[in-house]
């Protein structure tokens, strides 16, 4: 193996699937079976009815990632899988920070804090205030460091969502996919948004 192959880095795996119970398990097994840790996993409905999109982040070599994506694509309900390095995607994570409103009001210059960290107050109540930031890990981490001394009550961060820089969007990708790998009787993209009528189940 040359260096290129064993060089590990973050990869963003994007999976388009049908909306099917149990599929998350099937996909997760592909990673756990190979003892690969998932650093971040986000799944949500895509812009197309009955199609879901997964964003999975792992730290691996490209060779491993390529094989993984093929195994994922083998799953019956998976339409298409792409993988990209961080350079190829634009990504965000959402973070929420809960602070005591008193402490914030007394000790921190809220305005400065918001400006310098691009944060937004989502909720301000008598007892607590919730701030929100979005960004890369380092950015959201940064605000933790700042708030920690003032008694951070609770913190939560979302999984990563990523948009592929180079893509023409899923609609056209799917069209291309169905053109290159036609199933029997499938022409172009006429089945988009037809949900139940298209899926045999």
């Amino acid at each position: 193996m040359d260096n290129q192959e064993i060089h590990k880095q973050e990869y963003n795996i994007t999976v388009y699937t049908e909306n099917q119970i149990g599929l998350l398990n099937r996909i997760a097994i592909i990673f756990t079976r190979r003892k690969i840790n998932i650093d971040s996993l986000n799944t949500s409905p895509s812009e197309i009815e009955s199609i879901h999109r997964f964003n999975i982040v792992i730290n691996e070599s490209e060779d491993v990632v390529r094989k993984l994506t093929r195994q994922i694509e083998k799953q019956v309900e998976v339409l298409k899988v792409y993988y990209h390095t961080n350079d190829d995607v634009i990504w965000q994570e959402l973070a929420l920070y809960k602070m005591s409103t008193d402490v914030i009001a007394e000790k921190v210059s809220v305005e400065r804090l918001l400006r310098e960290n691009g944060a937004r107050a989502v909720v301000i109540r008598k007892d607590y205030t919730v701030f929100e930031t979005t960004g890369h890990r380092e950015e959201t981490d940064n605000l933790i460091k700042i708030l920690q001394p003032y008694g951070l009550i609770e913190f939560v961060r979302s999984a990563r969502v990523a948009i592929i820089k180079n893509s023409k969007g899923f609609n056209s990708k799917l069209r291309e996919f169905e053109r290159l790998e036609p199933g029997e009787d499938v022409i172009e993209n006429e089945y988009l948004n037809k949900g139940q009528k298209v899926f045999t189940m």
Partner: protein
Amino acid sequence: METQTIAQEVSEKTAEPAKSPTTEVSGSEALLEALIVEGVDTIFGYPGGAIMPIYDALYHYNDKLNHILVRHEQGATHAGQGYARTSGKVGVVFATSGPGATNLVTGLADAQIDSTPLVCITGQVFASLLGTDAFQETDVINITTPVTKWNYQVTDATEIPEVIAKAFYIAKSGRPGPVLIDITKNAQIQKFDFAGYEKCEHIRSYRPKPIVRPQYIKEAAGLINSAKKPFVLWGQGVILGSAEQEFKAFVEKSGIPSAWTVLGAGAIPTDHPLNVGMLGMHGNYGPNVLTNECDVLIAIGMRFDDRVTGRLDKYAKQAKVIHLDIDPAEIDKNVKSTVPVWGDCKETLPMLTALVDKKEHTEWHNKFKDYTRQEVEQVIHQELNPTTAEMTMGEVIKQLNEITKGEAVIVTDVGQHQMVACRYAQFNQTRSNVTSGGLGTMGFALPAAIGAKFGAQNRTVVAVIGDGGFQMTCQELGTIMQSGIDVKIVILNNRFLGMVRQWQELFNARRYSFVDIESPDFVALAAAYRIPGKRIDDRKDLPSALNEMLNNPGSFLLEVMVTKENNVFPMVPQGCSVAEIRLK
């Protein structure tokens, strides 16, 4: 019904049936109707509480669906596999929930790794009880997810027609595999308007066959035509794709020496002049050594299993690799290909054949012949014509072959006898070697032979089993007895778990740790199941005993006592390169 008057009831019964395209059926009946449309004739199964409505419905389908009552659900899956492997159709299995379903797991795992099409139907507790640890409730979907190509839980009868159609389509299309459908009891009972059954032919997200890309075919043909020492490795993909004719045409035109994986055996006859033997750990000398000498390696419908490749970093490094496979995930998985040929080999092989030059490769063939000569001298001759007092496994297989003229279906269990049978049996026809290749499941052969016979009723089916493996599923003698099927059973008894003993001898300095296995009187055991049998330990009795077995109108068990400590050679020791294959 109670509120109806008798008159009403009578008038309803005598009235013309409403001209409705739908009929009201239960989920169970819909399932059985679906199986009939799918062409199912035989089901292997075992009933229980959670699948009783299906069995109740089955009572009325006796004339259309032949149900074989096995003695253990593992036996049902292996029988389904045996059926699928000889018939080319989908094996169908029924089991109840909980323990019935968990007993299927070994067979599912075996079918998954050997790409065998199965549809298993399991009963499940009422949907309202799911997740409550109800009696015999097991999370079958999650347990079987890693060992199925697809699985699905039905909780409403109306789903049944579509789900079953999907199950069959997925099980048999593309790279085949096992599918499990778990049906809750309420869905089996529930009545619904059944609008008929339609087979599934398309699932949007599923691409059973990758599209063939002609530019790769061209590149592959170019490499083959310029090769000095091309070498073909073929696997079960050729058989699964029913591409035996296309494959034969390809090797005959290109004149390339061709070797097979255990599951590929028989795709072209063993004695075909271009067939140079078996690959892998106990394969033939030439094919293994010359893998590391060929210049172009053409892998067809095989997946470079580690039992075939040995050490990957020393595997065919000098060769350009062309890999034909229907499963895109197999290409570049273990061995990097120079030219990937995605597709069904039934489609890709003729395209390739059209572009390759007609050649002989005489000099290259002679190399294989040299190695064969060495292997015959050092291994095969002694194995097949022993001078020892005790019989060898090899000579039993050789004689069996001579009598059956290479026409029998040979079903093997796992161990030394399996490797010996694969090495020395002659396969004149395709779909003749039924064995557990990828999982190596002891206990496979007896139930698989039952299924194999149902799948190929006009052929002689001989199960070759070790004394260890036989004892894993010997209760299936009961299935043979009850179904009256004709399966010939040969137990090669070396009074050891032979294959493990061989490893202990070679690699653990003869520390024979728990491989000494005692057996019951197998002939008496068979007799208890009303199956005739015989035990021999003298070479002179071998031909007559084999003839007696084969001429017996029904099943027969023949126990042959063979040398206790005999090894299967050649052997590529674990962690060695294929070129380091040992002859002793």
